[in-house]
């Protein structure tokens, strides 16, 4: 019998960070002390600082300057290391952007499928290297264009997909073996993935050759973006089946992109984004393991999606901390052996919530700064927002400037010429450590609540975010945070920019199409396919991907397929959040 109670994995991690102390040069410490007494304090008396207290978004208090004495808990080899090596703090590849620049992946989609098809071809012809599709609200929730709940929302914030025919239209003339496609879809991810497989088949492209990502991350939907269809357990079961299916059949397909983006946009701070996202990641690892998959068979294909907002160094530190945490936990807790299981690959999008409605051209500057932080943080791909997105979906002109922003960073600034140029900065290394420590504290807390699902069901994670969002807003109201053009440097403006108006005809067109489809298809075949699907939903031992692909090909619509799920699983309502 053990006499000493062992702490949890997370408790031990926190303890080990806090107890870590490297030796530093005693001369340095006395020099820092001298500077503080003889230089800093007298200077404060003459010229006081602008604020009583400087803090990051995560309320980390900042000193005036950092020295090696502040990073005694960071080991240059063990914790920082070298790029391409464990724990990957400095980047996942030895050469990073010296070999290959990040993928410039611009999220786009609106109106009817052919509108989006045109925009994708436009972006491809201007040097974009990966596609990324935005869907409209009815598609995201799994309703057809002609569903009464969809009225007014078809094609509004993304492209509408009601059936396989719409997916065929989106990818018309775009060879799927030549592009990688990212689809931002969660609750109905399995259905859209099935449609993509069917489009590939119609182009004569093999499943093995398909490259891309479906977002699929339902946990962050309950936490932040709130686009679900069924209760959490039902969605997790479908995700399990997607994992198993893709692991077998689609070796280059990323079936899940674990997303902090929405967690941040919903109002969280950097530590919360980091912690909740990685906690979700570990929940999916647990799911894969519970489905009987060896960790190294699926972990290499988990990828991440982070936000990058305005607090420059905190964002860079967040990305570096994320890589170190993932590698450490995958190795020490999940005993992954394949180095690819240890590396955290991520896509970044600049922050939509940081864009202002006021003086919208200033948003070009904000996006540039955020994009720079993402690059300095070592992102694998990047979407830059357009300056007009606090107003509407972007115009072609605005989307072009956003893409050019990335190209300017890549080609003109030289920041891509050295790997992790901020590595070793006393401040950045110290901040990286603080974010890491803060994340471990949340992991511990979440585990003690019974895990992520439990923390969602109790509303804890949602309330944490809403509370931070409110505090952020109050700081702006009280002038503690300055947003240029919003609570300072204001001007009178009259219609500062032209915006994109969505063609109202898209909605009518999509409604007509889905109605026609129901008349013209083989309805007997559809009914049979949906029946098979219902049985699979009810039988936990079946893999639902096969009957979903079958139903999609029979031209069952997205809404019909999701309705089978709603019938079997029911729906979900949030815990009380106020």
């Amino acid at each position: 019998m053990k006499t000493v109670t062992e702490g949890s994995f997370w408790e031990n991690k926190i303890k080990s960070i806090r107890s870590k102390k490297r030796e530093t040069d005693p001369k340095l410490e006395s020099e820092v002390e001298r500077w503080y007494e003889k230089v800093y304090l007298p200077s404060l008396k003459k010229i006081p600082e602008r604020k009583k207290e400087f803090v990051t978004t995560s309320n980390i208090k900042l000193k005036a300057v950092y020295t090696p004495a502040d990073i005694k808990d960071v080991d240059p080899i063990e914790d920082i290391g070298l790029p391409g090596n464990y724990p990957f703090t400095r980047g996942i590849h030895p050469t990073m952007y010296r070999s290959r620049l990040w993928t410039m992946r611009m999220f786009s989609g609106f109106g009817a499928p052919e509108d989006t098809n045109r925009r994708l071809k436009y972006l491809l012809s201007h040097g974009e290297t990966g596609l990324s599709i935005a869907f409209d609200m009815p598609t995201l929730y799994g309703y057809d264009a002609d569903d009464p709940r969809a009225f007014g929302e078809v094609g509004r914030c993304g492209v509408n997909v009601s059936s396989l025919d719409d997916m065929l239209r989106i990818f018309d003339g775009i060879p799927l073996d030549k592009v990688s496609t990212s689809m931002t879809i969660n609750a109905p991810a399995a259905v859209l993935m099935a449609m993509y497989v069917a489009v590939a088949e119609s182009q004569g492209v093999q499943k093995k050759a398909l490259r891309g990502t479906v977002q699929t991350d339902i946990l962050k939907e309950y936490i932040a973006q709130k686009e679900w269809a069924f209760p959490p357990e039902a969605h997790m079961r479908i995700i399990r089946d997607m994992m198993v299916y893709s692991t077998k059949e689609m070796p280059q397909w990323n079936y899940i992109s674990i997303s902090g983006y929405h967690i941040r946009e919903a109002g969280s701070n950097a530590i919360q984004e980091l912690a909740f996202t990685l906690a979700d990641g570990f929940a999916y690892v647990d799911l894969g393991i519970s489905a009987g998959l060896p960790v190294d068979s699926f972990a290499p294909r988990l990828s991440f999606f982070f936000n990058c907002t305005m607090n420059f160094f905190e964002e860079i530190a967040k990305f570096r901390a994320a890589r170190r945490i993932w590698a450490t936990v995958m190795k020490e807790k999940y005993h992954a052996k394949d180095p690819r299981s240890l590396i955290l690959r991520f896509h970044t999008q600049t922050s939509g919530a940081s864009l202002t409605w006021q003086q919208p051209l200033n948003n070009i500057v904000r996006t540039s700064i955020e994009a720079l932080a993402a690059v300095l943080g070592g992102t694998q791909s990047l979407h830059t927002n357009s300056y007009d997105e606090a107003w509407a979906l972007p115009t072609e002109k605005a989307a072009m400037i956003a893409l050019r922003t990335q190209q300017i960073i890549a080609e003109e600034t030289g920041v891509a010429d050295v790997v992790d140029p901020l590595g070793g900065s006393y401040y950045v290394e110290w901040l990286t450590r603080r974010l890491e420590e803060g994340a471990y504290e949340y992991f511990d807390k979440i585990e003690k609540m019974g895990g992520v699902l439990q923390a969602i069901k109790s509303g804890y994670l949602q309330r944490e975010i809403a509370e931070t969002a409110y505090q952020t807003q109050r700081k702006i109201e009280e002038g503690d945070s300055v947003i240029v053009g919003v609570n300072a440097y204001k001007i009178r403006e009259k219609k500062p920019i032209d915006i994109l108006r969505i063609d109202e005809r898209a909605q009518q067109l999509q409604i007509t199409r889905v109605k026609k489809l129901r008349e013209n298809r083989d309805n007997q075949k559809v009914a049979e396919a949906l029946d098979l699907l219902k049985q699979a939903f009810r039988d936990d031992t079946k893999n639902v991907m096969y009957p979903i692909i079958n139903a999609v090909k029979a031209r069952a619509t997205l809404g019909e397929i999701m309705n089978v799920g709603r019938e079997v699983y029911g729906s979900w309502s949030e815990p009380y959040l106020l």
Partner: protein, 148 residues
Amino acid sequence: MVRTVSSVIKKNQRRIRILVAKPGLDGHDRGALVLCRAFRDAGMEVIYAGLLPTPEQVAQMAVDEDVDVVALSLLNGAHMTAFPKVKRELEKRGGKNIVVVGGGIIPDDDRKKLEKLGITGNYGPGTPLKTIIDHIVKRVKKERWLEK
């Protein structure tokens, strides 16, 4: 519906009861949840409709809860369909005196059209909470004065 004099007086003196709702398929609830907290701190009684109610459900809830104000928020571009629908549904249910205000990503032209339908505010991102609260208080005061 016939109101007794005493119930009118009572309603005129009570704290503002407000229903915050996102009518339709839109999970962007950051603004709505921030407003709930701000309204509460401003002394209002806040009811949050939760996510994904239909316009009909929002109207029904407003009438059932006997609120003074319905505050609608949408960031999905569907405000021109959903906001007027809530207003119509309120009228159908005898809630024509309930103040309707809106907010979200609403272009200027749309704002003018909504305004004509009696849906006011329609504030965009970055609007100070105080501006929104003052607007609501002003509208409720006027409505109560007219009702007297």
